[in-house]
């Protein structure tokens, strides 16, 4: 395998806080890799370590099989798109994009050509002489991308690249990012706290929390098989229920809860979870009805409709279980209209055993 960036047991401490705690990671060449986590989870620090703007306390960083742990930023084939773009406000669009090449001492004619080419690639022709302050957010974003990519980096680092854009621009720029990556064929490492962004853009995702890596995998793997409830909560909303394994055989577990009726969940046949567990069900897998005798479902819990949220093509029911936890159920609009439910109405929550996931309550770090 052709590894582009490798982190080997990297530790970085800011004051008393372990921003990055024993992180090992291997990112393939040409991959769109996202690091997903809440703010303060250490994901930006990882980017700064790869860029060389920070140095790790321990561990090593490799770029294209070469140790770069102590190399200064200008010796690394890496460029960064900063969170608020960090465009030089006193320099024109052209001068901003040309900055890196100028610092490298490129010939003026080459700079002219490379910058024009890059500005065409991000569709900013004709804005060469504007100052960053005269551009819209989306345009600034593209200047930042051009300024980094014009140096032909092996790895492009993006720190919350779309966070400052409004919803529509964000979707446009997502496509734009994928297109740019195909054209320049660099490894893109993107830090974000938006799970939908990470799911849509990435070849692989690393989920971080409190400076630790919780899980690394393809979007599908992480969505369908989260290793812990933290990951599950972060990748799409999830309904959770804590309980204890009562019995587990042949890939079917019975989980008991003090207040609620026991539930059945499937697990891998060779797994046999024990003790305290978390059961997780995605809101789109949950069915609600006022009718107790809906056929066939493996699980049924009593609840009361707490809140009804309409979102265009679906209705999200927030229901309160008997232990006061709130679950959500996403129901297609046609189905919801067929038998509408009102706030305060007693309902039954149903789901299949194989649609639930059983996770250890205290996961081992990966």
């Amino acid at each position: 395998m052709n590894e582009s960036v490798v982190l080997d047991k990297v530790i970085k401490t800011h004051g008393l806080v372990r921003a990055v705690d024993h992180v090992s990671l291997s990112i393939q060449s040409g991959e769109f890799f996202s690091i997903l986590g809440p703010s303060g989870s250490g994901k930006t620090t990882i980017l700064r370590l790869i860029a060389g703007l920070d140095r790790p306390d321990q561990g090593d960083i490799f770029i294209q099989q070469r140790v770069v742990t102590l190399d200064p930023p200008h010796e690394r084939p890496v460029n960064m798109v900063f969170q608020h773009y960090a465009l030089f406000p006193h320099l024109s669009v052209f001068e901003n994009v040309a900055f890196g090449l100028q610092m490298k001492g490129e010939r003026q004619a080459n700079i002219q050509k490379a910058v024009s080419h890059m500005l065409a690639l991000v569709r900013l022709q004709g804005k060469e002489n504007r100052l960053p302050g005269q551009l819209s957010g989306g345009e600034q974003q593209r200047v930042a991308l051009a300024r980094a990519l014009v140096n032909r980096p092996v790895v492009l680092l993006l720190d919350e690249p779309l966070a400052a854009l409004d919803q529509q621009l964000r979707q446009e720029m997502q496509g734009e990012l994928k297109r740019l990556q195909r054209e320049v064929q660099a490894t893109f490492i993107c830090v974000t706290h938006q799970q939908d962004e990470a799911l849509m853009l990435s070849d692989r995702i690393a989920v971080m929390h409190g400076g630790k890596l919780l899980q690394v995998g393809t979007p599908q793997e992480i969505y369908d098989h989260p290793v812990s409830s933290t990951v599950a909560q972060f990748i799409g909303l999830s309904n959770v229920l804590s309980g204890n394994i009562a019995r587990c055989e042949g890939g079917l577990c019975r989980v008991e809860h003090g207040v609620l009726s026991p539930v059945m969940v499937t697990c891998f046949p060779h797994d046999s979870p024990q003790g305290a567990v978390t059961v997780m069900v995605r809101p789109e897998r949950v069915h609600v009805s006022s009718d107790m005798s809906v056929n066939g479902y493996d699980n049924m819990l009593q609840a009361i409709v707490h809140h009804v949220a309409f979102s265009g093509n679906e209705v999200v029911y927030h229901v309160r279980l008997r232990d006061e936890t709130i679950w959500m159920a996403r129901v297609p609009i046609a189905e919801a209209q067929a038998c509408p439910l009102a706030v305060g109405q007693p309902v039954y929550v149903h789901w299949w055993a194989h649609e639930g996931l059983v996770l250890p309550a205290h996961p081992a770090p990966c």
Partner: protein
């Protein structure tokens, strides 16, 4: 813009404060200025008083080559003081601007502490440091670097040191404000784009600090151009500067009309320089 918004909103208190401010400035700034201008057009009396006979003679004397030399020397000293203050102040201002909150407060206080002492006393302190049997000479002789004390006091150097010392905070404070407004991310971005430390400073920090340098430059240049305590005490009054000349005309020679004309000459020079600065690209707001 702010004035506009204030004027359209609650009108009465704004008008009141505008009127009181105008009154204050008119009474304590504009009126004395008019008086001094009047005096500058009058004649000196036989025994030092003012005789109210209008004349241009005082302004003709301002154009005297001897006065010209003093003007030139003062401009040179003020210019040099400004440049040295800028060079010394920048690293200090940078540390201040980038320090964490508690440190920033401590350092700012340290910069401000000299203001709590009278300027005259602080200048006398330099006399104690610089004179032949002063602290610096004694120290250098004790350490064996010197046989004989260096003549430090009453030289151009001592005046210069005094001016830089006195006006340095006026350069530091505007620079701190300017540097604080430069995002540290811009420095990171420059490093990420292959800039060395020096290149980052030249292409990012320096141009973005221009407003600070301009404000600080004005605050240092103008008072050092008219300074008289420092040249008098540390220069021993040996080489005349504009400030000392004006002071002497008023207090020693008792030639108020000529002193007033000199003051207006000084003001005219400053305004001319200010106008010229505004016409260069440096004077334009980079943002």
């Amino acid at each position: 813009m702010l004035i506009n918004r204030l004027a359209t909103s609650s009108a009465f208190p704004v008008k009141l404060s505008l009127v009181s401010a105008s009154l204050f400035l008119g009474l304590f700034f504009f009126l004395p200025l008019v008086l001094v201008f009047g005096v500058s057009l009058a004649s000196r009396g036989m025994y030092g008083g003012i005789t109210w006979i209008a004349t241009w003679e005082n302004y003709q004397r301002v154009l005297d080559p001897l006065v010209g030399v003093i003007f030139f020397r003062s401009l040179l000293f003020a210019g040099l003081t400004t440049v040295v203050c800028a060079v010394v102040a920048f690293p200090l201002a940078y540390c201040l601007a980038r320090a964490s909150r508690p440190w920033q407060l401590i350092l700012l206080t340290l910069v401000m502490i000299p203001f709590w002492t009278n300027f005259l006393v602080r200048t006398y302190a330099w006399v104690l440091i610089l004179r032949a049997d002063g602290i610096l000479n004694t120290l250098l002789i004790r350490l064996g670097f010197l046989e004989e004390p260096l003549p430090l006091l009453f030289t151009d150097v001592s005046v210069f040191v005094g001016l830089v010392y006195g006006y340095l905070p006026f350069m530091v404070l505007p620079l701190v404000v300017a540097i604080e407004r430069i995002s540290p991310q811009l420095e990171d971005a420059a490093f990420d784009l292959y800039a060395s430390m020096g290149a980052m400073f030249r292409h990012v920090l320096l141009p973005l600090s221009t407003p600070g340098f301009l404000a600080g430059g004005v605050l240092v240049f103008i008072p050092s151009l008219g300074a008289f305590i420092t040249p008098y005490l540390l220069g021993g009054g040996q080489k005349m500067m504009l400030g000392t000349l004006i002071q002497q005309e008023f207090l020693v020679a008792r030639d108020w009309p000529f002193g007033s004309a000199l003051s207006f000459g000084l003001m005219g020079t400053v305004l001319l320089l200010w106008f010229l600065l505004g016409r260069t690209s440096v004077g334009k707001d980079p943002s």
